[in-house]
Symmetry: D3
Subunit: 319 residues, 6 copies
């Protein structure tokens, strides 16, 4: 078992130097084998309001240059526990959602056959559907832990069944989701009607809303979430708009009253005992970001997700 | 009793399309009768520091396109409970405060005779004085619940008795305010002198400061506020600078250490049992905003205020 | 013949006040008959790079508040010569280009039957195709005067035949364009291959490039353009990226080395003797704009186009 | 005759260091005698559209840190030819135009008695009226060379006779302007009516419009301007919006199609044989600026004006 | 004992007017004696990522114009308790760290001999080393209370022993720090290795991390900090990146998950019984700030520090 | 002779997708041999005013995604004529100018031995010195064509002999420059003293200033430049601040009154008959850029330089 190849050495090459890969990690082409792949899916044709998440992957890469190798909050050195790589971007047709979704499923399935786990950087939330399809092929139905301001279980919009507002309804209908173990966290803001909540429950989700977090605190939220997901294989899908616009202005459908990045990171770190089989971080829309505030939050979120996965891989290997 | 006309249907017309009215609601000219009017007062000649709130109403309108019809946090569909409309903007003289204040009072009185309740979008805080004059004509002296970083009970500034720093002193002097039931929330930052606090108390206000909220929490603050206002007719005046600059950079006199938008929304929702007879949201200064962060916070605040009012109107009608 | 209803009176209502319509003109619903309609088409699903032009119409409306009624550069009062209105926005499906293009053609045809001439605000350049289809139904094949950094005569992109890079190839193939009288102005930047220019010529366009303008001057460019279009019915299609990024940062595919807004306005004013039957201004992407620089340039361009049309209508009526 | 005290030495104190004065020059309090004063008037209550010019003086000071002592374009070392100082800001009432205008006149008259010549940094264009009153007391009626997108000879606005749109009408009526020698340069954009131009000519101005410059070139414009002003004492008033929004986004009433900063600087340098008795640079509104683009243009304009004055003072002294 | 000279009177001179000094206080040259000096050190050659803190002092000055004389949160009028002044900026060589550090030590020692206490505005964190050297000459080894996202106890970077990542290692090695009483607050984000924490403890610091604050609350953090520092002379060093990027985007090495400005202000106010002998606020990088959000947070932090010092000076004098 | 490997195919992978290399070209590691290398040098420790050019290379890469393979203005397909690659970034010590300059010379010499020609993206102008040293080793003394607002022939600054203001003085002193054939283009703005011009001439430069261009036009400027450089091996060094701040806000020492990007591109294209042996584009400071306006201008400039070189290489090979 060789040592993983880590990021470019910052004592030799300054952090702002070099072609941008996530956390300055090697590209997948540059290592013999990889355990965890960070991959971008620059697709935003499923967006209903402010577009631009197609530039999300490159923005998160540029915003990840400061990430260092040891994660003290989890007490893990993720890039030493596992070979983590940047797998580049999936090419997805910007003019045809169906075609793009099919291509993403193929690419994710293919990548999933080469690495143990994937963290995807979007792109808009449409991509969660093909990602779930790919992950379920490998792991069976998963508990979905979904951080978002919105439910994303709407039905259709302008006749389109697959957009950034519908991935979890489609996933539920397709049997991709464990209906007893999935959960939204951080939802808030107005809905179309009360029926949205009825439908959502029927589709398999319970809700820890932003109002719940405000009123009962993060610790209670963590406990509820952990009970809900139990020991199922866990897929974590994070729409960056779960954060308050103060923490994530660079997104497409911002809603006031969200989580802080500190709260979100805390919740993620509390999942170290759960079996995280895949994850995505979506809806980073750089044209609306400022000083990489959103990009940095997203890159830290990806880093915590990678740490969760790497710790489990490392533990399995007895590192 | 006909059904209220709601917002433009987002399944037909995308949210970013169409001439901007608040929440894509009908204009007052386009409905036979209205219960609640959202009206803009683009006036900022009373500003002592960063001007620009004259562009507040159009910015809040553009930032309100994502608001949907059902408010789950209050479990109310406000636009179904009452006919809510956009009443456009009041024309106010930018070169003469006295003239503008008189015109605003006339316009608010007139509008108040056509609708049940008004939520005003400023403009600077100067406008609270004529708004209070108009509301008091209809309801008698009111409890004022005033969210702000500042007291706004100063006396004069450069000899001007009516500016954005003085509305509540003038209102108190004119007998518009119930001196036993009014309250500032979220005040912080330096004052001119300790006498400011003495005067303020004499003028009829108690204070739940930002320091109080930080130290004792929102729940305690809500309890204090609710006790203070009791069952009086309530006017809510919200200077968006009550929010921390992280949550509301787009304002004229920002002070560090403020409330989060989540806290503010929570406090407003806690007022559902009080009789809200009028409200304003002021000091949104778009030139200093970024990615509509401030505009979205303000539009959500307006939405909560409208919901409070609509629920009461709907309840009265037995909807 | 009644007097046209002009913009909201700025001596009564300040320019920053009121719900935004183009140039503060009446909405089409608010006048009995209209001659010229400014209409928005907030559609950008045909964009290949930076999206966001879906917010173009509302941005141009907000950026047009300073426009006054008399155009000294053409010595015309356009809103007195003809009834000019804001016809709102066309609803176009953001998830299906084909569906959207069909709906735009229907809407433009319908609007074209109600008014004499239309100036459309995009939206991305995809919309020029259905707009041309509609205008040709009324006027027969037109000379197209196309201001753009790009040729927009590419064939397909990701298999899509109708995107913002292809409208004029499709239009040429459909016989919408007078192949002897059409012209690109301001093209620059790299192409895919030399064949692009060969194809373009075959499709019916001559070129006055940005290099031509730099080397030979605007006056020579105007002369060439006027000779080319001759006395055919003229459709003017202006991609705002014809301007240098200094003058129009808020666009999707910016190229260095473009025209100044002063040059563009001059060229437009030089067309007063030509028969302008329709026009569009596209690719304003507000998320990339600053201080409305692009929005103001676009709104001035629309104003000159409206002036050209209004003068001809007024002259025909003997005003 | 002692040597003037120049700017802080940049080889000792970096340009970004130190409390900001214009060009890092001494404050008026720090020298025994001064020849030329740069003074700020942070007043913008006369603005009809985007406010914020009250922050103009501090922005221009911060944007002037790069100015060095030798002006090669005029071959003059202005700070060696004359004692140039920063005279700080005039305090003007933000709530009462009349009061402010009176105070500005007093302050300018007082400062004018202490120094030979003044260059004022606004503030909005309202301030030109009291500045002209002060300069005329000293020099008699002056030729006004007025660079602006607008005529600024309107009559009243919302009943206010003195705003940023009216200074030159009032000045003409008061006999402050030599009616045979005054001139607007760079005007463009729509007007209220053709009568505006008739009134303007009657009030004593000829016009070299932006269209004239585009069509006939700067050299012809310079020749016309120089003939017009002849040998009268010359007051130069520069609204920064004479520049195109690309060159000066940070202003209140931007109009497309303006001058470049290179053209403006050239025209100013061409005035070295004229007797410049005073000058102002107004309407810099920093909240709309980016990367100090507008501030740097304004500070270079002030520098050229100071150079013109200093060269004449130095020549008179036989330096 | 004469009364201290306070800030420029805002009822005479508007807050946006006048050459910018911190809180509009007098310059050190303009008072006979001073107790507390706010001084800028515009130096950023020690930065490893985003530079620009050299513009920090001027930005904080401009952002401090709203500070008023009475601090209600501490119930102290700092500018009445002590003579507080703006001591301008220290000139530091931008091209030679060693030379700059030496010059800063000389300047701080010299200033320290003229005033009782100093609050420094950076500049990058490199400057803490010479500042500590100067303060220790006067007071002996100090407890360092260090607010930062980072430990700043790294060893070398590119062979440079003194950069913005190393001041507290060097200070510890030089014996400037009381090893039993120093503390980091707010650290978070990835490190190079676990050894960083081992080294840090050996160098004399305990840690109240951002995770600690999130999990246990501010009150517990305050208690821990106060126990740690005890009654030693206290030096407070605040890297503005201790705040979350939402609260302080304008900094050089931002990390997600930080403190709110409200929390930081609360912690500072809790130190009123400790003997604060010096303080710095560093790493404000204005090019990344928006609407002065970071600058305002920093200026409020400086204000609280000055208040702590002034109260102690005032108390000692029996005011 | 195999066909060069060109950019990633945009008909398969959208332009916004994929890890950013210049123009989406292959990395030097990914091709067997390369003719022309685009290399970044993210170094800005030599900056005297606004820093940040260390982020220039990554910004130019991100801004170059729209570049297509055929350059119609030169009628050349540069990536077909020669193998062009992205050689990544040179690691340069941010804390020690001397060390960095030595490392850059080594890296440039080494890269120069692997490829025929290099275009460097800075970084600040300091890097021109080691780049010239490397190029002169290969080609002997070169004619330097230097586009810049500044002379960059100053002597020392704060005792430092090698900064971004001195490269061409040092180069001249070291005999790297052909004193009869070098030229500045676009200089403007104030200098320290007239002696600067005397020194500059002695050091071997003639000047085509921005004033010259404004007064005599680009064509005359091109003729002068071409006469001056004659048939010497030519090194082109372009400080992006040669452009007006309207065209290049994202730079460190902006001066009003500069060139347009259209003029600069025209001048470069006019050099196709000269023997361009190396080139750099420096001083892009992204924190001050907006919407990639500066980055796009810089990437187009690099593209024209690469085209000049590729055409000559292709011609030599008889392609």
């Amino acid at each position: 078992m060789t040592e993983p190849i880590g990021p470019v050495d910052a004592s030799v090459t300054p952090r702002y130097a070099g072609i941008a890969t996530f956390a300055r990690l090697p590209r997948i082409e540059d290592v013999p084998d990889a355990d965890i792949a960070v991959v971008g899916i620059p697709f935003d044709a499923g967006v209903s309001y402010r577009p631009g998440a197609r530039f999300g992957p490159s923005h998160v890469r540029e915003s990840s240059r400061l990430l260092r190798p040891y994660n003290p909050a989890q007490d893990v050195s993720p890039f030493a526990e596992a070979q983590v790589v940047d797998a580049g971007d999936v090419a997805a047709n910007p003019f045809d959602i169906e075609d793009a979704v099919a291509a993403i499923e193929v690419a994710a399935t293919d990548l999933g056959s080469r690495v143990d786990r994937i963290v995807t950087v979007g792109g808009d939330h449409t991509i969660a559907l093909p990602l779930l399809r790919a992950v379920v092929k490998k792991h069976g139905p998963v508990a979905v832990l979904h951080f978002d301001a919105h439910l994303d279980t709407w039905d259709t919009y302008f006749g389109a069944p697959v957009t950034h507002g519908t991935p979890f309804r489609r996933a539920s209908e397709e049997g991709l989701i464990d209906l007893t173990a999935s959960c939204h966290v951080g939802t808030r803001g107005p809905l179309y009607s009360k029926q949205d909540l009825v439908d959502d429950e029927r589709l398999g989700f319970s809700i820890v809303s932003s109002v719940d977090i405000e009123e009962r605190g993060i610790e209670a939220a963590i406990a509820r979430v952990r009970r809900r997901i139990g020991d199922r294989p866990l897929y974590i899908s994070i729409d960056i708009d779960v954060l308050d616009p103060a923490h994530a202005p660079g997104t497409g459908t911002p809603e006031a009253g969200g989580m802080t990045s500190r709260e979100l990171l805390r919740m993620l770190r509390a999942l170290s005992e759960h079996h995280v089989v895949g994850a995505d971080v979506v809806e980073v829309s750089p044209a609306y970001d400022h000083a990489q505030v959103t990009g940095i939050a997203a890159s830290h979120v990806v880093y915590e997700l990678v740490t969760l996965m790497a710790a489990q891989i490392g533990a399995a290997r007895g590192r």
